[in-house]
Amino acid sequence: MKKLLSLFQASLMALPLSLAVQMNATAKDLKDIKIAVIPKVAVPFFDDCNNGAKAEADKLGVQYQWVVPQNTQGSTQVRILEDLISKKVDGIAISVNEPKSVEAAIKKAMASGIKVLTFDSDSPNSGRSMYIGTINSAAGETMGESMAKAIGGEGEVAIITGQLGAVNLNERIDGIKKSLAKYPKIKIVATEGTEDDLAKAVSVTETIFRGHPALKGIFGVSQVGGPAVSKVMATKEFGAKKGAVKVFAFDDLPDTIKGVKEGYIQGIMVQRPVTMGKLSVEHLVDQITGKEKSPKNVDTGVNVVNSQNLDSYTK
């Protein structure tokens, strides 16, 4: 009797085991796929990325997690990547703060079978499958050309950027410098970093205005430039700069759009963060399910927005 019972018990145990083996043999169910998206830090630009990514994740039916670093230090994103590796997510999309420090973590993630791509800000030597974002050098060149036209090919200009170590921002600056090389009478008199912090950017802008009274143009290479310059030009001290100093900014934050409407800003390079988010999730899922075998970088492009086409562009 005992022997019969144990045989029965053994066969009962074998049943779920064989089912499990069968389940592993089929591809992973969409609803079991876990996607995590990591922006640089909590600034409005990435809210658009989140919206695009979440919408796509909901559409495909995959699990979605949005993890925001509390500061722009490389070590913070490394820690998040490691926690996600522990959590065995299936795909990670990250906009990188500091390209070198995340290389080891990204490689480790990929070695453990997680698909990793970068969006908006790249870590080129990390072995990630692809980069989705703006071709920043081209955007920078367009900005440079627009400025050169606006100030008549000569004068002093200044560049206000976010983190001085960010790859995407520096590519934009390189683009600007490349296009301005054609105009020897245009001089870049200052390049200042702000960590994308608004208070810091306002302070930096004021200092630039005071230090270079003959300034004719400002490039806001990161998303903080538009709001900062608008706020400074709206004050009594610098009110005269409005219109006299041409401003070209990046990203269509509400304050920046307002800046265009009120004449503080002459043009905005608007990226497509919603598209970046959407494509990040889409490509990750395709790579996880095996549909996409040789990923290539995607250029999400920029719109040049000024007072004329303010109401008619897509992101």
């Binding site: 925001v68 509390q70 230090q73 490394v78 500091e98 001085l164 170590g165």
Partner: protein, 332 residues
């Protein structure tokens, strides 16, 4: 009590459970309890917490805070505070990176980094003792100088030199399953735990903080104690900075920014009193572990990362309140 006696009765009093319990006195017990409760909570919600990889990763990520808290506890016990640990950590890493960039051998680069910590620590100590500056002001000054130097030298751009594998092993290597930074943390914690509890110097540190006048009148050279303690804190922060650079291979100007609050929190959660005389290295390590595990749990459990600081703050308040409540009960 006979000196040097090794009779059987004395040894049996040192049984393992008693030693362990003796090591973790009352104030650390409540932190340990909080730690176990939080860990159990996370483990119940997600199966990925109690895996070797994850736990080792968590230990490694809070090891930097824990390493620096060893020095911080000693400073706090003397009744002082060291706000500059973050800047010293960052600057030491940066100097090490620059040394590598200029082609110096590993030992020289590491020495330069340690030297920075030593110099800043000594400066803090001199400002507090000979300069008679309040520690808050003195270390606030060195914090700003250190951070400023980092931005001046790097001009905002991280330094990313090539480094030999031997050096990378400090931050990225393993001894068996255990990451190297965790080993470094354990070694430092054990060493200074023993120093604080079982050596004359340790007793002098507690005496200086408990009642500086009385200690001075009893023959303790309180100035020298403080000088040593601040210098040690600086050197230990430099160790953390070198380990951090070895891990990330990128010396950012913002490295270590704000970490002094985490380090002070770790020490205080572990039982250190900001008025001096009370605190322990073991407690500080547990305090660092608590905040580190919460950060890990937030990502594993898919909690809104904005809530992380709020949760950490709440857990800290609860852990410290339990301890205060127990003290109040004892005194009744």
């Amino acid at each position: 009590m006979e000196v040097g006696s090794t009779s059987p009765s004395r040894w049996s009093a040192l049984s393992l459970p008693r030693v362990l319990l003796g090591l973790l006195r009352a104030q650390e017990m409540s932190v340990l309890l909080a730690l176990l409760l939080v860990s159990a909570g996370i483990a119940l919600v997600t199966p990925y917490f109690l895996t070797t990889d994850n736990l080792m990763g968590v230990f490694r990520s809070f090891s930097l805070t824990a390493i620096m808290s060893v020095g911080m506890v000693m400073v706090i016990v003397t009744g002082g505070i060291d706000l500059s640990v973050g800047s010293v950590m960052g600057l030491s890493g940066l100097v090490t990176a620059l040394a590598f960039q200029n082609g110096f051998p590993t030992v020289v680069c590491v020495s330069f980094g340690l030297g920075v910590g030593f110099v800043f620590g000594l400066t803090n100590g001199l400002l507090v003792t000979a300069g008679r500056l309040p520690p808050f002001i003195a270390t606030l000054g060195t914090l700003s100088i250190g951070r400023g130097l980092m931005y001046i030298v790097t001009r905002g751009v991280p330094v990313t030199p090539d480094t030999p594998e031997v050096f990378n092993a400090i931050g990225q290597g393993y001894v068996g399953l255990v990451p190297a930074p965790v080993i470094i943390m354990l070694v430092l914690a054990t060493a200074f735990s023993v120093i604080m509890r079982f050596t004359t110097f340790g007793r002098h540190v507690y005496a200086t903080g408990g009642n500086e006048q009385a200690a001075w009148l009893s023959g303790v050279n309180t100035s020298r104690v403080k000088l040593v303690v601040y210098t040690l804190a600086g050197a230990i922060s430099a160790i953390a900075g070198i380990v951090a650079f070895s891990r990330y291979l990128s010396a950012e100007p913002a490295s270590g920014f704000g970490i002094e609050l985490d380090v002070i929190a770790a020490a205080v959660i572990g039982g250190a009193s900001l008025s001096g005389g009370v605190g322990s290295v073991q407690g500080a390590i547990l305090g660092a572990a608590l905040t580190g595990i919460i950060a890990n749990g937030v990502v594993l459990m898919n909690i809104n990362t904005y809530a992380q600081q709020t949760i950490t703050g709440g857990v800290i308040l609860i852990a410290v309140s339990i301890d205060v409540w127990r003290h109040a009960r004892k005194e009744r």
